[in-house]
């Protein structure tokens, strides 16, 4: 069967008049849908933070146990304390973000959602700054782990002793790494600040630190503002 385009146009016109009678645009739901979009986009972040908090808690507990058994062996204890400090700060950061995400979930008003979002953003930036500052400290991991393996007498891992592996040169290597990375970390920590946002690379780091979801939500909020008030 072959239909002429004019026949299709007639079908289309009939369709149009059916739609005219039956279709409705629920424009009043636009704000609601947009708010739902914001919450929906942030939901996975909530679970990410819970997983991170769990991981940080386990790390803190294990490192504390390690410290308890090795408190009199200064190099190991110091390494573990540094790592505990890092994980505690990371834990605190996640906890604050979780609180802000909860606030967003409970809020209906744009200003308070924006405030919570700004808090999440600044926390994410702080975490990036902190992580870079702590890179030298994370070098303590092999020391702590190899000592823990020895203490636990794990035979299959007995070869993993960072001091033996490096013929005792581990501390020298770490001192060199510290000498290079600590000033770099301090410089980065000072540079990544909102006051330096005029620098392109700083702006990029700050924007990317909070991740694609938060950036998307900021866009959705701008749209919600346009819907509610007609301008951003």
């Amino acid at each position: 069967m072959f239909m002429e385009l004019d026949d299709l146009k007639t079908i289309w016109r009939d369709y149009d008049s059916t739609l005219e009678k039956s279709l409705n645009l629920n424009l009043h739901t636009l704000d609601l849908i947009q708010t739902q979009k914001i919450k929906s986009a942030l939901k996975p972040l909530y679970w990410q933070r819970i997983i991170e908090i769990t991981f940080h808690t386990i790390a803190i507990v294990l490192l504390s146990v390690f410290c308890y058994y090795n408190y009199n062996q200064l190099p190991y204890a110091i390494s573990a304390y540094v790592l505990i400090t890092f994980y505690s700060l990371a834990f605190r950061n996640c906890f604050i973000q979780l609180g802000s995400l909860n606030d967003i979930n409970a809020d209906k008003n744009i200003i308070s959602i924006q405030t919570s979002l700004a808090r999440i953003q600044s926390n994410s930036v702080n975490f990036v700054r902190l992580s870079v500052l702590f890179i030298p400290a994370l070098l303590s991991f092999p020391v702590v782990i190899s000592k823990a393996i020895n203490d636990l007498e794990l035979k299959s891992f007995s070869n993993f002793d960072i001091f033996k592996q490096t013929n005792g040169n581990w501390f020298n290597a770490e001192i060199i790494a510290f000498a290079i990375l600590v000033p770099l970390g301090i410089w980065f920590y000072n540079e990544i600040d909102y006051k330096n946002v005029n620098k392109k690379w700083v702006k990029n780091v700050i924007e990317k630190a909070s991740g694609i979801r938060v950036r998307k939500v900021i866009e959705y909020i701008k749209e919600l503002q346009v819907l509610k008030y007609g301008s951003v």
Binding site: L8, I11, D16, K21, L25, R213, L227
Partner: protein, 162 residues
Amino acid sequence: MAADKQAFVKRMQENKNIIFKICNSYCSKKEDRDDLAQEIVLNLWKSFAGFTPNFKFSTWMYRIALNVAISFYRKEMRTIKFDAYSEDLIVFSADSDEKVEIEKNLGLLQKFILELNEIDKSIMLLYLDDKSYREIAEITGISESNVATKINRIKNKLKSKF
């Protein structure tokens, strides 16, 4: 601003069919359709202040709505999956949805439009809505002769379907 919003809502209700037909032609899933409708209304609202009565409203609306639909289709803007909305933006009065689906040829035509590429979809929609070649060219931003060529190609494709 409140008066503008009222005028905008009135215009949207008058031209709701355009939004629905575009969304239906660019999205096969209901939830995508609602997302696109929302995106279209939002963009129309953003541009509404710039609308001058020198233009035909439907032409202005088509131009913006089709641009949004094409970029939605191209970029697959739904990179983030959303929970189902508690209320729909596009709603049908009771039992009417079924009535729209009953017509067999309409179903075939909708399927045919869904299978077209994003530019041909818009040309086909405008053609079916009785827009002249000049208007189609103005809305889609391609030349009139190009519009004519594309419509001929679409007609040939149509012959094999109907």
